[in-house]
């Protein structure tokens, strides 16, 4: 008890739900959760979306987001129950004893204020230091976190620094008042994989050097394995398993934890050869009114009924390539051949068959569907539009498609809001399939989904490829997904294809510098991976 900094007992958290057309009702988000964080230790909270991990994290500051209420249990910070200290007691706790690092630092910083003013605000507000002392501490934290120009970066506004830097500034903001506990809420989830490893290393170093305790919330078990001493696995607001990191990663007892650890179990046999259904030749493109090319001389082929993965970080031009292929952005140079015929650069000039045979599935299934149409209407629309199906024939075909995406009878009259994230994405897949396409462009289709759900979607896509003989152009930043699904891979960097070939070729050494960086940055689910990778890079840098 003496070393317990944060002690949570029998936590119960409720919220009020407002289902459309029904009376509001209370729902339980978290129930029966208890854990302890000792001084200087890191506890990882892990689970899928809806597991209540952020809600539990924020309960250590007695904060409920939206209409969320803590209705039961006790939360002790430094020995006192913070659920009983009242508003002024909470203000004294927040920003002094416990601080918070949000998932999206870009949204969590006030756009109208300089970074330094925000970083030292809590420290000054609680009267912990004078202004000069606080600024000096902030600058030393900036340096510790590896930010460029630590002396002057505080004079900048949030929009003037990159996402990865902002996330580190936010960490400095949390550490500035010398708190006892920092809540990290998915601090690296929104970052590119090569940026994530840098931020992760910076956070870990800062935790070790300042001796602060932390709650580290994430859905990525491989990430939390690098940073936590203990891990608490959550599912649907309840505890599944709680133990040391070594125990959870190497000898998980519960089936759910085992599934999380062994996710990405897809064994996909690579296909080779075959005539290309899509040929992209020498495409160069820029957005109207801009002065630089987003795509530079891109040439790739996609054979029939195979999958070409386009891999790259944000800004590498991979989504722009999809816009060029669909005709939304006419290229300034180059040519696209599809199924033996040359496609018009603008989609307006393409034939109806050209449009039908290339379909798209998007990252956000939510916004890709009309919320006021039922599943039946959404899937039925291309059937009417392309094939003139009506009445019973249409209904029969919709049901066939729903069967193909492994959703049963009951869904035809449902609205998108009544579906889970994975189900929504399945409906989008059915809508694309309804057009009987030769090729589907999948733009980050699994990025917004939890690992286990994403796994299901990938398996479905592979199955459908066998049945429907459809080719996939699979755009993603996630190399694990690529390993699972691709036949060939194109790695893009700053608008160029830097590496292109069959999956085994691309993923086998010798690597070019960028692909090497990309591959080695993907967190692996083993203890000490982060330290080893950083050490390797230092050695390589020293060797050069």
């Amino acid at each position: 008890m003496s070393d317990a900094l944060l002690e949570v007992k029998g936590l119960k958290i409720e919220a009020t739900a407002y289902p459309p057309g029904e009376a509001p009702r209370d729902i339980t988000i978290v129930e029966g959760v208890g854990f302890t964080v000792e001084k200087g230790k890191v506890l990882g909270l892990i689970g899928e979306s809806g597991a209540g991990k952020s809600t539990i994290g924020l309960s250590s500051m007695a904060y409920g987001r939206g209409g969320v209420r803590i209705t039961g249990g006790e939360v002790f910070v430094n020995g006192r129950d913070i659920l009983k200290v009242g508003p002024s007691g909470l203000r004294a706790l927040r920003g002094r004893e416990v601080t918070y690092v949000a998932q999206s630092a870009a949204a969590a910083f006030n756009p109208a204020k300089k970074l330094m003013d925000q970083v030292i605000e809590a420290t000054l507000h609680h009267g912990l230091m004078g202004k000069e002392e606080a600024e000096a501490r902030a600058i030393s934290l900036f340096a510790q976190l590896g930010l460029p120009k630590p002396e002057t970066i505080g004079n900048r506004y949030p929009h003037q620094v990159s996402g990865g830097q902002l996330q580190r500034v936010m960490t400095a903001m949390a550490l500035c008042p010398k708190p006892d506990l920092v809540v990290f809420d998915e601090p690296t989830t929104a970052l590119d994989v090569t940026t994530q490893i840098e931020v992760l290393a910076a956070i870990k170093r800062a935790i070790v050097e300042t001796g602060v305790a932390a709650l580290y919330i994430t859905h990525d078990l491989a990430v939390v394995a690098q940073i936590a001493d203990h891990i608490l696995v959550l599912q649907g607001g309840k505890m599944v398993e709680y133990g040391t990191t070594d125990h959870i990663i190497n000898t998980p007892a519960q089936a759910y934890t085992q599934a999380l650890v062994s996710v990405r179990s897809i064994d996909h046999q690579e296909k080779t050869g075959g005539a290309p259904v899509l040929s992209v030749k020498g495409i160069t493109a820029r957005y109207r009114g801009t002065k630089f090319d987003v795509l530079k001389d891109v040439t790739v082929d996609l054979p029939e009924a195979q999958t070409l993965a386009i891999v790259g970080e944000s800004g590498s031009g991979k989504s722009t390539l999809a816009r060029v292929i669909t005709g939304l952005l006419p290229p300034s140079k180059g040519e696209i051949t599809f199924n033996g015929r040359t496609l018009a650069p603008e989609f307006e000039n393409r034939t109806r068959d050209d449009l039908r045979e290339v379909q798209m599935i998007y990252q956000m299934a939510d916004v890709a569907m009309n919320p006021r149409q039922t599943v039946g209407t959404i899937i039925g629309r291309p059937l009417e539009f392309y094939f003139g199906l009506r009445g019973d024939a249409k209904k029969k075909r919709i049901q066939e498609l729903l069967d193909e995406i492994e959703m049963g009878e009951g869904y035809i009259d449902r609205y998108p809001a009544e579906l889970s994230g994975g189900q929504k994405q399945r409906v989008c897949i059915a809508r694309a399939l309804a057009a009987k396409p030769k090729m589907i462009i999948c733009d980050e289709v699994t990025s917004a989904l939890d690992p286990l759900v994403a796994d299901g979607i990938l398996k479905l896509l592979l199955n459908l490829q066998k049945i429907e003989n459809v080719a996939y152009l699979f755009i993603t930043h996630d190399l694990a997904t690529v390993r699972a699904i691709a036949d060939s891979i194109a790695v893009m960097y700053q608008g160029r294809v830097v590496r292109y070939g069959s999956k085994t070729e691309v993923l086998a050494p010798p690597f070019d510098d960028y692909t090497d960086l990309l591959l080695s940055s993907v967190p692996e689910m083993e203890l000490g991976w982060l330290e080893r990778t950083i050490a390797n890079r230092k050695m390589e840098a020293a060797g050069n």
Binding site: M61, Y63, R65, L90, R91, A92, L93, R94, G95, R96, T99, Y100, A102, S104, A107, A108, F109, N110, P111, A112, K113, Q118, E121, A122, H125, H126, R156, Y157, H159, Q160
Partner: protein
């Protein structure tokens, strides 16, 4: 060039163009009014010969285009012509009127703008609780009552019953600043009540919109007080919509106070305009129209520029 300078220059140029267009509209509008200026000056006693002479003297025989340009160039040099009704120089007689109107408008603005923003902040702080409801209801009520009625109610209580302020807002150059303020207290009160609701509601709505942001949560998790969060973190990000509404209301204070000036017999632009419209004094009406248009466009220009300056992305490019 700094993008802000470029944007502001663009807005300025656009404002000039708009003012030019307004001058055309004003000129055309006064031309198509029924009646003949020479006829209305000479009245019943006009002979055809004297009418022709006066027309030639006033330049009314020139084509409309050339009259427009000579009017415009004179106006640009500060010469607004002479009033037909009394032969006085318009610029001179309008000068003191405009000064009076601006004095009234600025006095009302100095009270109304900070008060509206403060009330907006308080309404957000106690959102959905009684201070919010009281503020919203009362300001809505004062906006809804016609301003002349507000004027007479204020007069009845404050000058007739309790004799706090004078009922007529007569001011002259011999009065001290505070005597003037005392004299215009009632019209200022009425104007404040008229514009308060609009500005307060916009402030409240704009800040509530910002209160949903993630950075407000960040501020809450720093342990800041609610009011500090609203004033320091939310308000700076709600400036643009608030400034636009504030400027619209300031423009109303200059351009739209005709009724209030008439109620309190205040020697301002509104009375001046109304007097000369009834006398068909076209040059005065044109001059007033031009000044009102300039004030309106100018204030909206200021709102645009402030909105641009309030955006840190434009002020501090990458």
């Amino acid at each position: 060039m700094h993008p802000v300078v470029k944007l502001v220059a663009q807005r300025l140029a656009l404002g000039m163009l708009l003012l030019l267009a307004a001058s055309v509209l004003i000129f055309v509008g006064t031309q198509i009014l029924p009646g003949d200026v020479a006829q209305s000056i000479l009245g019943q006693s006009a002979t055809p010969q004297s009418l022709a002479n006066l027309r030639a003297e006033l330049g009314l025989n020139e084509p409309a285009i050339s009259r427009y340009f000579s009017w415009l160039f004179n106006a640009l040099q500060g010469d607004l012509g002479k009033a037909l009704s009394n032969g006085q120089d318009i610029a001179t007689s309008m000068g003191s009127r405009l000064g009076n109107t601006l004095f009234l408008a600025i006095s009302a603005a100095v009270v109304a703008v900070p008060l509206a923003i403060l009330l907006g902040l308080i309404a957000v702080r106690y959102q959905g609780r009684w201070p919010d409801r009281v503020i919203s209801t009362v300001t809505l009520a004062t906006v809804s009552v016609p301003e002349f009625l507000l004027g007479y109610i204020a007069m009845f209580f404050l000058s007739v019953k309790f004799r706090v302020f004078p009922s007529l807002a007569a001011i002259n150059d011999g009065m001290t600043f505070f005597e003037k303020l005392n004299s215009i207290a009632l019209p200022v009160l009425v104007l404040v009540l008229v514009v308060l609701g609009h500005m307060m509601r916009m402030t409240r709505a704009a800040i509530l919109n910002v209160m949903q942001s993630a950075y407000v949560e960040t501020a809450e998790l720093k342990g800041l007080r609610k009011f500090t969060i609203i004033a320091r973190h939310a308000l700076p990000n709600a400036i643009a919509p608030v400034v636009n509404v504030v400027m619209l209301n300031l423009a109303y204070l200059v351009v739209g106070v005709v009724v209030v000036e008439v109620v309190f017999v205040y020697p301002g632009m509104g009375q001046y305009l109304v007097d000369h419209v009834s006398k068909r004094d076209v040059p005065v009406v044109q001059a007033c129209g031009l000044v009102f248009a300039a004030v309106y466009i100018g204030l909206n220009l200021v709102a645009d520029v402030v909105s641009i300056l309030a955006n840190p992305r434009l002020r501090h490019p990458k």
